[in-house]
């Protein structure tokens, strides 16, 4: 036995530190959101003015339009709304919020971030491979996703998509395992399950959903790959025509099977995207209304229930796909059931602000904006969840309106809320409140102005995933022509929505050029991430959101109860 002096290993090197990983995730999301936004604006311009030609490129061909749709959806849903709220802010804030100094598996954490980054590169590579980007949408329905006969992007481009999303699934599963273990095992002293902030509960629920859903997606991707390259027929019927070619497959596969697998993943996925925003909204509203969250345990239960119910509603995406009508009714029921816990959350948010004197910081107004968008987008959910109505509305812009309000815009508002709220913790400086308000008003006005009219064009019959809606003969053409003014309005609003982000960029820039340094508990918050640095071990002494009647005093989770006044449990 050699006796050697040992060098005490540092707890974790810089590069596996959760802050590094968190910022890495945010960087992934930022590049994805920039690219995805450009793609969406190109789509909007093309829809409103089909003759418009993209600078340096020329007019947008139908297959190019479909490629834009596919890449926009994939970038936004996977690389922005799944990555930033859950893993970006999850890494930056979650450990501090439970009083831990690290994530459970720092190296695994770095690995999952690296895998996600590679997935993004592979996805981008789809633009430059022969044939270009895939055209079958973020849902990649077979049979069009099974053969390069289906279109130019369905060869190499589709393979890149498959590889990218497979990598993404693996990265997300690993990240979720890390998040779950961190929450289960690394909570500090006194941080009982009921005392966890709702943000932590929603990260927990979303991580559970990730572990369940992404594994199933991975299996589906594997089978699709076999169908494409190894001659199997999991998702392919016995005989089919594709672009003039008769294809025989040795089996009785069915595209419907892919739909089941995909949406078993896909619906939980949209909740993974929105749950962190819901948790944050609860905490931010409570903090600035200086009210405690009503029925805290019930809120925890609804978070879990939304996650749980989210697993059994996938069929509502398949009403018109040839589902057994009885199955359709079952899925309609479960989908409407999920509105109950969602409504409970909304009521709790409203109850907190009701007759309080909220302090309207930028973070708070973005949280309120989240509530508004969640309600506006949520109202159309139960409409779509009725098979009879969906028969008409499916594949119209009504659905696009629904999910852009409730998921895309609400999700982005959640991200902005997180940014304004936690900026001092992330960079040691604060963002300007004044510019933040300008940013907020511009964003919310143009968000509604862009996505609300989509419900009307959808009701009027505008289909989604169509490259061109003008120049069609007959009554269809007349019908669609009537939607054109509104469509142009949507496009202009979308451009303005993009411009409305300039104040945000300015705000970021100013925080670099003229930093307003702050490290203290700027918002008088009660959760652990704001605890001042001491060399005592962190410990939680009470649940979050304890404020005095007038709101001027508060008992943060980290403060030891004094003998005279105690915040209670």
């Amino acid at each position: 036995m050699k006796m050697q002096p040992t060098r005490a290993k540092p707890e974790h090197s810089r590069i596996t530190h959760h802050r590094t990983v968190g910022f890495g995730y945010l960087a992934i999301s930022l590049s994805a959101v920039a690219a995805g936004t450009v793609l969406s604006l190109a789509m909007r311009l093309h829809l409103a003015w089909p003759g418009w030609s993209l600078p340096l490129h020329g007019p947008i061909l139908p297959e190019e339009y479909l490629a834009l749709v596919t890449m926009h959806g994939t970038l936004m849903l996977f690389f922005v709304l799944t990555v930033a709220p859950q893993n970006g802010f999850g890494n930056l804030i979650l450990p501090a919020q439970i009083g831990a100094s690290r994530m459970a598996f720092p190296r695994l954490n770095l690995l999952s971030m690296a895998v996600t980054a590679v997935a993004l590169f592979v996805l981008f590579s789809a633009f430059i491979v022969p044939g270009g980007a895939p055209i079958s949408g973020w849902t990649a329905y077979p049979p069009l996703s099974t053969s390069s006969l289906a279109g130019p992007g369905q060869g190499w481009g589709m393979d890149a998509w498959l590889a990218s999303i497979a990598l993404f699934s693996i990265g997300s599963t690993l990240a979720a395992v890390n998040t779950l273990t961190t929450i289960v095992k690394l909570r500090c002293d006194g941080m009982t399950w009921e005392r966890l902030p709702l943000t932590v509960w929603s990260w927990f629920t979303a991580a559970l959903l990730s572990v369940i859903a992404f594994s199933v997606l991975l299996a589906a991707l594997l089978l699709l790959f076999c169908d494409r390259h190894l001659g199997t027929a999991f998702f392919l019927p016995h005989t089919e025509w594709m672009n003039g070619v008769l294809r025989q497959h040795g089996g009785d596969g069915s595209p419907l099977l892919w739909l089941h697998l995909f949406w078993f993943f896909g619906h939980p996925e949209v909740y993974i995207a929105i749950l962190p925003g819901m948790g944050l909204t609860s905490m931010v509203i409570a903090n600035f209304a200086r009210r405690r969250v009503f029925a805290y345990r019930l809120m925890i239960a609804t978070t879990l229930l939304i996650g749980l119910l989210g697993i059994v509603v996938w069929g509502h995406h398949m009403f018109v796909a040839g589902l057994n009508p009885f199955a359709g009714s079952a899925f309609a029921l479960s989908s409407m059931a999920i509105a109950i816990p969602a409504t409970a959350e909304v009521l709790s948010w409203l109850a907190m602000v009701w007759r309080s004197r909220p302090q309207l910081t930028t973070a708070m107004v973005f949280a309120l904006g989240f509530v508004s968008l969640f309600v506006a987008g949520g109202l159309t959910g139960p409409i779509l969840a009725q098979p009879v109505l969906d028969e008409y509305l499916h594949n119209t812009f009504f659905v696009v309106g629904h999910f852009h309000l409730i998921m895309a815009m609400a999700g982005v508002f959640g991200l902005f809320c997180a940014t304004y709220y936690w900026f001092p913790l992330m960079f040691g400086r604060a963002l300007s409140e004044r510019i933040g308000k300008v940013h907020f008003w511009g964003t919310i006005v143009f968000a509604y102005s862009t996505f609300l009219p989509m419900h009307f064009t959808g009701l009027a019959g505008e289909p989604r995933h169509y490259a061109q809606l003008t120049g069609i003969p007959g009554p269809t053409g007349t019908l669609l022509a009537a939607t054109m003014p509104l469509q142009r309005h949507i496009t202009v609003s979308a451009l303005c929505l993009g411009l409305a982000q300039l104040p945000f960029l300015l705000n970021l820039l100013l925080s670099v050029l003229r930093p307003v340094r702050t490290t203290k508990n700027l918002w008088n918050a009660t959760t652990m991430e704001w605890a001042p640095k001491t060399d005592k071990l962190p410990a939680a002494y009470r649940g979050p959101c304890h404020y005095s009647q007038d709101g001027n005093e508060f008992a943060p989770q980290w403060e030891e109860p004094s003998s005279t006044a105690d915040g209670g449990a």
């Binding site: 707890e11 779950l180 002293d189």
Partner: protein, 259 residues
């Protein structure tokens, strides 16, 4: 609960940072480490916890928790494959004469799979022996004090046995695929053969990962200076190995009797 070394209740200065790399591997007197804990009770610090609720044991439990969640995801992966199996088996189509055709022809399962299954079960036994060796109390004590490496030596031998048996299983699977392909039962031949290959190959990939983990564990046994690291790695690898064994039994039963 197997034994892991936890420092006794002597003087425990509170340290601001969690320092790993010094968890009682026999070079320094035991000191307390800040470890993550479940704050079930109000106001008790780790120092006041009963022994066994802190230190290496928590590291072990943390690793096991992570492994549990990862295996849960993996289980979902196979549940998805098995669901597709049953759906495909039950579907058919109508031909030109309006006859209902079901293309599913059961794939004959090579009998060597029985042998492979037995080998895999055996490998789980040897793996478990290795795992228990890592937690054999008296030897752990010795090793921790630095009197040789009795646990690591013994566990290493059994891990080698496991690795060999695992490799034999994979070789056996290879033989089975060969036998099937001489009968032209390739992946694309029939819906049932799709599944035979997809399921056995997916499982084999998992076993490859297991073998990689075994190798990592063997290397760690040799080179890591920290007892807890060695224990955690062996423990995690073996539990993973067991899980793949149990999974295989279900998958094999499905292929043998479920077609």
């Amino acid at each position: 609960m197997p034994s892991t070394i936890t420092p006794p209740d002597i003087d425990r200065p509170r340290r601001p940072d969690f320092i790993e790399g010094d968890n009682g591997s026999g070079r320094k007197p035991p000191t307390d480490k800040r470890t993550g804990g479940n704050g079930d009770n109000d106001g008790d610090g780790w120092s006041n916890r009963p022994q066994g609720k802190r230190g290496p044991r928590e590291r072990l439990l943390r690793a096991r928790t992570g492994l549990f969640f990862a295996l849960f995801g993996d289980l979902m992966f196979f549940i998805a494959l098995v669901s597709v199996f049953f759906v495909t088996k039950a579907s058919g189509h109508f031909d030109a004469y309006n006859r209902y055709i079901n293309e599913w022809l059961p794939t004959a399962i090579p009998s060597i799979l029985w042998l492979n299954t037995a080998v895999l079960l055996l490998s789980s036994v040897s793996a478990e022996v290795a795992r228990r060796a890592m937690f054999h109390e008296i030897d752990v004590m010795d090793e921790w004090f630095g009197f040789g490496r009795p646990t690591s030596k013994r566990a290493g031998i059994w891990l080698w046995v496991t690795l060999l048996l695992g490799a034999m299983f994979l070789a056996g699977q290879w033989v089975a695929w060969g036998q099937l392909s001489t009968h032209h039962a390739f992946l694309r031949a029939n819906p049932s053969s799709h599944f035979f290959y997809i399921i056995t190959i997916s499982h084999a990939v998992h076993l490859f990962l297991g073998i990689a983990a075994l190798i990592a564990a063997l290397v760690t046994l040799k080179h890591s200076r920290v007892m807890a690291t060695r224990q955690v790695l062996v423990d995690g690898t073996v539990w993973y190995w067991h899980a793949m064994g149990v999974l295989w039994i279900f998958l094999f039963a499905l292929l043998e009797y479920g077609q």
